[in-house]
């Protein structure tokens, strides 16, 4: 009897091991597919940027040519300039490291803001974070992005700036946005304090409570910045 139950347990264990190995192989394949997809998106966005620059340069060259043209040439050049060649808004999201690209792209996709990204990080340091640490980073980044988007969306020319840089010990993500609001500076980050018409006033509070992330708030020349600092080794 005992031998039979041991045998059944052994078979069960073997089946579990086989399933685990299969899941691991599938996971690795998916990871490679995702990386390939992200690389393709990066290339596509870089291509859009080059195309935009090319279109702008051509337009300037055509304008310069007008001064050398006869009337027929002038008419032709004007026709070309006035042709509808839409410039696709490209907010250089491809510059973001893969680790946070998904979240930021999802938040900013199709937003008609100027989004300026300056990435000084080497490679994708977020890959080295443990799941728990990475989740904390994503939580704080998501809240900061939501706040930035809500604050600037009613501006005539809204913009969001994302700077990524590092020193020997830490990574930094700095998010800036323009805004038009009244702020009680000493209450920023207090529980339930909000400058928005809706919301619970818990976002910035939860960032401040997060023991893995240090935050710094600055307002310079009517631009609001929050800098999230995360240690490289936790």
């Amino acid at each position: 009897m005992e031998k039979v139950s041991n045998f059944i347990l052994l078979i069960g264990l073997i089946i579990l091991i086989i399933i685990s190995i299969r899941l691991y192989i599938q996971n690795q394949k998916l990871k490679k597919q995702i990386e390939k997809l992200l690389e393709t998106i990066d290339l596509y966005n870089q291509h859009i940027e080059k195309d935009n620059i090319y279109k702008h340069n051509i337009k300037n060259k055509l304008i310069a040519l007008k001064s050398f043209s006869n009337q027929k040439g002038l008419n032709l050049i004007n026709e070309i300039i006035e042709e509808n060649t839409p410039i696709i808004k490209n907010n250089n999201l491809y510059k973001l490291p893969h680790g946070i690209k998904g979240l930021v792209t999802e938040k900013l996709y199709n937003k008609n803001y100027d989004i300026i990204i300056d990435n000084k990080l080497k490679g994708d340091p977020f890959k080295k974070f443990s799941s728990k640490y990475f989740n904390n980073v994503i939580d704080c980044l998501g809240i900061s992005m939501d706040n930035a988007i809500e604050s600037c969306q009613n501006m005539a020319k809204p913009f969001i700036i994302i700077d990524l840089y590092e020193d020997d010990d830490s990574l930094f993500i700095k998010i800036g946005n323009n805004f038009d609001n009244n702020i009680d500076l000493d209450k920023l980050g207090e529980k339930y304090y909000t400058t928005k018409n809706k919301g619970h006033g818990l976002g910035l509070y939860s960032i401040k409570q997060n023991k893995y992330i240090n935050e710094k708030i600055e307002i310079i020349n009517n631009v609001y910045y929050i800098t999230l600092e995360m240690k490289k080794s936790v």
């Binding site: 340069n57 038009d180 310079i220």
Partner: protein, 241 residues
Amino acid sequence: MIKIVVVEDNKNTQMEIKTILRDTEIVRNEDVIIEYYSKFCPELKSVIKNIDERKIYILDIELSTQTSGLDIAKYIRKSDWDSEIIFLTSHEKMFEATYRSVHEIYDFIEKFHNMKERLQKAVNDIFKRKYDNKMFKFSCRHYNIQIFYHSINYIYRDKEERKIIIVTNHNNYALNLSLTDVMDYLDDRFKLVHRACIVNFDHVEALNWAKGYFVLDNGEKIYMLSRKFKKELEVIYGKSK
């Protein structure tokens, strides 16, 4: 004395800028030093760190080095909001409005489109205009705030919140400071006109002592004007306002 600092890695463009500046009358006539760099080097860093000198930076936004013109502008603005920055660019200026707003860029000039005229005009205008990039700066454990003096309209004390409110055209900021304390952070264009109000006199259009209000250049009428300060202010500003 004004220092013009040019950062351009293309030798031909650098020569062109030299010629343009040499042909600019105001640069010839005024007390001006011009320095040329092709990259962000230690010598350039120490020039930037010296904020005692008034400077005009002419930066190639697309330097083909690790540090771009934009990185240099960011580095400048860490400590110096007084100097003016002009960007030179090879193509249409994407995000121009944002860069102007964030880094207080004076102008973006395309290298291949009227560069001589645009650069000379920009330099002339900078020399002639009133230099006013001083800032209100305050920092504490929780935040750091910097606002140009010229964008502050007035500051008043909110009795209920027991805080001061800095009023600009777009935003109001509440801080835990007294009016007396905040005067230490301001220059002499700011005057106490009421026990609970300081106003930036560069923005005042009119004072009505009889009815107790002042009118700003944005049309706002503020009822915080006390006769107690009339004599003192009339000595400074006369009765013209």
